[in-house]
């Protein structure tokens, strides 16, 4: 029987990134994907004729440029286009826009508050400082603070030195920043509600937290750490939808000799004498491999694919305690024409930007209270965009695809599973919000796909529908991610590794977990990582 050098379970973006690096390092790698298509949560699917849906992830800003270069993704069709800013519509018929031009941005803010307009530079400086501190950590394995191994000590020292290099003021802000709520943080800079709401949304996207929850200032950084071709913090969109990212990865993988099997759901990992030997597919087929790397989240991997007896109690306890509650849903809509927003001038770049309707922190927080109570938000927070205004390849001419990311949607409704009726109610909460700002919107809808955490879990396999494969709170970051003691992509089972977003540095279409895991695997194999270019400089 053939034994692959490595088998990657799950063809999401991190699984593919990991597979690509290992294949290029000379391993013979097999990727197993349960669906009939690869991509995990980064897919473009034609769900209605002529319309491509980026039906899960919808923004490409975090994807590491080092990975795009190493794996030659542009050659395989990946092209990222920046959004033209963003906007928050206000309930009084106006809107606040974020323009890419610094001065237009300031003048726009000055419509609401001259003070806030001039506070932006200091805010931006302080956030940039924090980003610069954290960004280099993305492409490094988190050190284990309980370890005395030279490598961990070295990494800790590196962290300590970076911290010591900050000014006393920066140190103080850094310490506070990690534990503050985005709402309190913004209060220190801005006075206008809609301006605060405009920034706060980056503190909650993808999390089971409200803007008033401590720790959300850090989440903001997680969303700001991305870059589009050197423009740090920019959000962009992949031409052809988010599937273009994984399509390019799959092509790169195949060109370098890798093998992908779709429709191949892994039932469990084969373990002999504490060492992973292969996998057994749902149909019973056994496939052998020297290394098994799981792109699935940590709960799915260790509570479903691995037998309990193979794992130490303390590890199991920690995996069970891993927080992976879903908090968002998605409504994807095919439109027969471009919706109109009476508040927005017809020639506004905001049509090519991300749009929001939550104009106060309080509305955001109240939406979160609904999540805590186990129901979808009555007045949801939407991160909405019409990618076809930037990328005409996704719909027939003149027609449009609209992506609505929706918060909050709990993994269970009042303790029970979602039903189809619930799903329709959830969709209606979204549509009725849009209609308030875009009369006639309903009539433009050609087709709609609604994804609650239930659908996200069922299709993509993300436990509880959590898009980050685990919440981004301090107890699950850095050396705590996914669980203490196993934050370096290895597991208690020999030869079994993790490479998904459950691992450091976490979720978003970033690819860093997949790459970092590959680096650790190659280290264990004592193989040079020749095809891995150094992380970008932060100077």
């Amino acid at each position: 029987m053939k034994a692959w050098d490595a088998i990657v379970i799950g063809g999401g973006h991190n699984g593919l990134v990991n597979a690509c690096y290992l294949q290029r390092a000379g391993l013979d790698v097999l990727v197993l994907e349960k669906n009939d298509w690869v991509g995990g949560a980064a897919t473009s699917r034609e769900l209605t004729p002529g319309f491509l849906y980026s039906n899960c992830s919808y923004v490409c800003s975090l994807f590491r440029p080092e990975i795009m270069r190493d794996l030659e993704l542009p050659r395989f069709g990946l092209q990222v286009i920046s959004y033209e800013g963003g906007a928050v519509f206000t309930r009084d018929g106006d809107y606040l826009a974020n323009y890419r031009d610094h001065d237009a941005h300031r003048r726009e803010f000055a419509r609401f508050s001259k003070r806030d307009a001039e506070a932006y530079d200091r805010y931006s400086r302080d956030v940039t400082r924090q980003c610069r501190f954290i960004q280099p950590l993305l492409m490094r394995t988190a050190p284990d603070p309980t370890s005395f191994r030279p490598r961990d000590l070295g990494e800790l020292l590196h962290l300590g030195k970076k911290f010591a290099g900050l000014s006393a003021e920066e140190m103080a802000l850094t310490l506070r920043f990690w534990t503050m709520s985005i709402s309190d943080f913004l209060d220190e800079y801005f006075e206008t509600d809609v301006i605060k709401a405009n920034f706060a949304l980056s503190g909650i996207i993808g999390t089971a937290l409200g803007p008033m929850s401590p720790g959300t200032a850090y989440v903001l950084l997680h969303h700001y750490m991305g870059e589009v071709d050197g423009s740090v913090g920019a959000w962009g969109y992949a031409r052809g939808g988010m599937g273009a990212v994984t399509k390019a990865l799959a092509a790169s993988f195949k060109v370098s000799g890798g093998t992908i099997r779709t429709g191949a759901e892994v039932d469990h990992v084969l373990i002999r004498n504490g060492k992973a030997k292969g996998v057994v597919l749902a149909g019973g087929e056994e496939i052998y491999g020297k290394l098994i790397i799981s792109n699935a989240d940590v709960k799915r991997t260790f509570l479903k694919l691995v037998e309990e007896k193979e794992l130490p109690d303390i590890f199991l306890r920690r995996v069970r305690n891993f927080k992976i509650r879903g908090s968002s849903g998605k409504v994807n809509i095919a439109l027969d024409s471009l919706p109109e927003f009476p508040a927005l001038p017809k020639d506004s770049p905001v049509y090519r930007a991300d749009m929001h309707f939550t104009d106060s922190i309080e509305r955001m927080e109240r939406a979160y209270d609904d999540w805590k109570a186990g129901r979808w938000s009555a007045d949801p927070f939407l991160d909405m965009m019409i990618p076809t205004t930037l990328d005409p390849t996704m719909a027939p001419p003149g027609k449009h695809f609209m992506s609505c990311f929706v918060q909050y949607a709990p993994p269970k409704i009042d303790g029970r599973d979602w039903t189809d009726v619930d799903r329709d109610g959830f969709a209606e909460s979204v549509i009725s919000q849009i209609v308030q700002y875009s009369p006639g919107f309903r009539d433009r809808i050609v087709h709609m796909e609604v994804r609650t955490p239930r659908e996200i879990e069922a299709e993509v396999g993300l436990t509880e529908g959590n898009i980050f494969q685990g919440e981004l709170t301090f107890d699950q970051l850095l050396f705590n991610r996914p669980v203490p003691g196993y934050a370096q992509y290895r597991s208690p089972v020999g030869g079994l590794y993790m490479c998904g977003s459950s691992t450091h540095p976490g979720g978003g279409v970033m690819g860093a977990p997949g790459r970092n895991a590959a680096a650790e695997i190659l280290r264990d194999l004592a193989k040079p990582s020749l095809h891995m270019s150094p992380a970008h400089d932060v100077i």
Binding site: A168, T179, G215, N321, D369, D475
Partner: protein, 524 residues
């Protein structure tokens, strides 16, 4: 010679417990110390006051659970009448429709009313909480490290903490680092199953802060509580005989014995600043008093913005001070009752303890939600004591005093407290009636102090007990503001010694003691 001509070594502003501790400690080092108290009595929010004819009650703080042992020792408080014995410890009783659950001894050394599985889960969790709180405990009696400019002593202090961490053992240390900034709700879900027990812990973690149990970092509140001790045992609590005023009386006696001059009814109008140095104060009566050192044990924002004034300090500093979050959420209820209430299912010993209405963490979280939007909890959570059962002298014979700390009552109530207060009182009484049927009919007099009332009466801005939210970003190096966490201020000769400084509020005396030690160390 009038006192104006005297040159004091130190003037302490504010005769709350921290001011008294700071003054006494400074006086014991040989300094000539004057303490100025605005009110007619010292004690601040730790007084015993009459709220209805013949009914007396501890004004705000009603349980003693964290008076720092260094304070007791330094000021020899036992010699001044403060004694706490194991027999004085009172239990915590969680009231519930399913029957009460009781934590006996020092924070539940023994748990009754719960299943045996829950008892062993609690035993494990309690030990873990105390271990982890123990790692943090040494910070209470130290200046927070000055990151930009670390001294040898500070390095050593941090080194000791690292060692304490190491002593936990590898897996314990990993868990410590994981849960440090976690929310209390999830941790309780991981380890316990009894809603009553979880409700109590969720309540204790968030008491006195603008957090709900689900707010990340809320577990720190529980650590803070358990880092405190009384009678040598962490987590223990007593109802002081004579109320909190008796505790303050002991500290005052120690201060007077050490030679502190105490002047009551002497509110300070401003701190005199000359060339960037604080050199004395002017009282509201117009008297000028000069001193080498001025120690403010009142609120940091009051000190800087009102007494010093923004003109003598920098804008960035003023910004930081104005950004200290200090809007209280806790109200205080005092009831004069015709007779002791009967809480359903609670025994006599339980009635002498702390009775808590916080039936589940979800309930506490739900009570928290409206406070975010300037609304009070329709079903408030609270801790109740019946001090007259422990010390009959505080109520007329046969009658009873009820003292309760009630959350959440946001300082800035959107509808205003004038119309909100009676509504909130009704909401509280409805809760009490549920657990002590018939109590409403025995109320002779009710006094509800909202945070707005507390602000006005006790000069505590925002009505906040801690003089600043005790949350992760306002702790340690960031308390009261970053860059000035070691009791110093940008003005030479001016020090902060109140609860607004590290480590924070509660009747501990630690800020006052630490500040005095800092001043003494500087001149040594």
């Amino acid at each position: 010679m009038t006192s104006s001509d005297l040159n004091w070594d130190a003037i302490v502003i504010g005769g709350g417990h921290n001011g008294l501790v700071a003054a006494a400690t400074l006086a014991k080092s040989g300094r000539k110390v004057l303490l100025l108290e605005a009110g007619n009595e010292v004690g601040g929010a730790a007084r015993t006051e009459e709220f209805a004819p013949g009914f007396r009650v501890s004004s705000i703080a009603h349980l003693l659970n964290r008076l720092h042992p260094d304070v007791v020792k330094t000021l020899e408080l036992e010699r001044h009448g403060l004694t706490v014995e194991r027999g004085d410890f009172v239990p915590s009783v969680v009231l519930s429709k399913d029957g009460p659950l009781t934590l006996h001894g020092a924070y539940g050394e023994v748990l009754t009313g719960a299943s045996s599985a829950e008892q062993s889960a609690w035993k494990e969790l309690r030990a873990q909480l105390l271990r982890y709180a123990g790692v943090l405990k040494p910070f209470l009696s130290r200046r927070p490290p000055d990151l930009g400019n670390m001294s040898l002593a500070e390095m050593t202090g941090l080194g000791q903490t690292a060692l304490a961490l190491k002593r936990l053992g590898k897996e314990d240390m990993r868990d410590f680092l994981r849960v440090l900034l976690m929310n209390v709700y999830d941790l309780l879900d991981e380890q316990l199953s009894d809603d009553r027990l979880k409700g109590l812990l969720a309540f204790d973690a968030t008491l006195g802060s603008h957090l709900g149990p689900r707010s990340p970092t809320s577990l720190l509140g529980l650590y803070y509580r358990l880092a405190g001790e009384i009678g040598g045992l962490a987590g223990a609590q007593v109802q002081p005989k004579g109320g909190m005023g008796a505790v303050v009386a002991a500290i005052r006696a120690a201060a007077e014995k050490a030679g502190v001059s105490i002047r009551r009814a002497s509110p300070v109008a401003r701190v005199i600043v000359e060339k960037g140095r604080a050199v004395g104060v002017v009282t509201q009566g117009g008297e000028t008093l000069r001193a080498k050192t001025v120690v403010s044990a009142v609120n940091p924002a009051t000190t800087i913005l009102d007494l010093v004034g923004p003109r003598e300090v920098d804008t960035g500093f003023v910004r930081k001070v104005k950004n200290i979050r200090m809007k209280g959420d806790a109200a205080k209820l005092h009831l004069a009752l015709d007779r002791p209430p009967q809480f359903s299912g609670v025994d006599a010993a339980g009635h002498k303890g702390r009775l808590v209405i916080a039936p589940s963490p979800v309930h506490v979280e739900r009570a928290f939600n409206p406070s975010k939007y300037g609304e009070f909890s329709p079903e408030p959570v609270m801790e109740i004591t019946l001090p007259s059962l422990v010390d009959p002298s505080v109520a007329p014979s046969g009658a009873c005093v009820l003292s309760a700390v009630v959350q959440y009552a946001p300082y800035a109530l959107k509808e205003g407290w004038t119309s909100g207060k009676p509504k909130f009182l009704r909401a509280i009484m409805a809760q009490l009636e549920t657990y002590a049927p018939g109590i409403g009919a025995t109320v002779r007099h009710a006094e509800l102090l909202t945070p707005a009332d507390i602000e006005a009466r006790y000069r505590m801005p925002g009505g906040h007990w801690h003089h600043g939210e005790l949350q992760a970003d306002q702790m340690l190096m960031s308390r009261p503001v970053s860059g000035w966490s070691g009791y110093d201020t940008p003005l030479e000769g001016l020090f902060l010694a109140g609860s607004g400084s590290h480590p924070g509020g509660g009747i501990s005396g630690a800020p006052g003691l630490n500040a005095a030690r800092r001043i003494i160390a500087m001149r040594a």
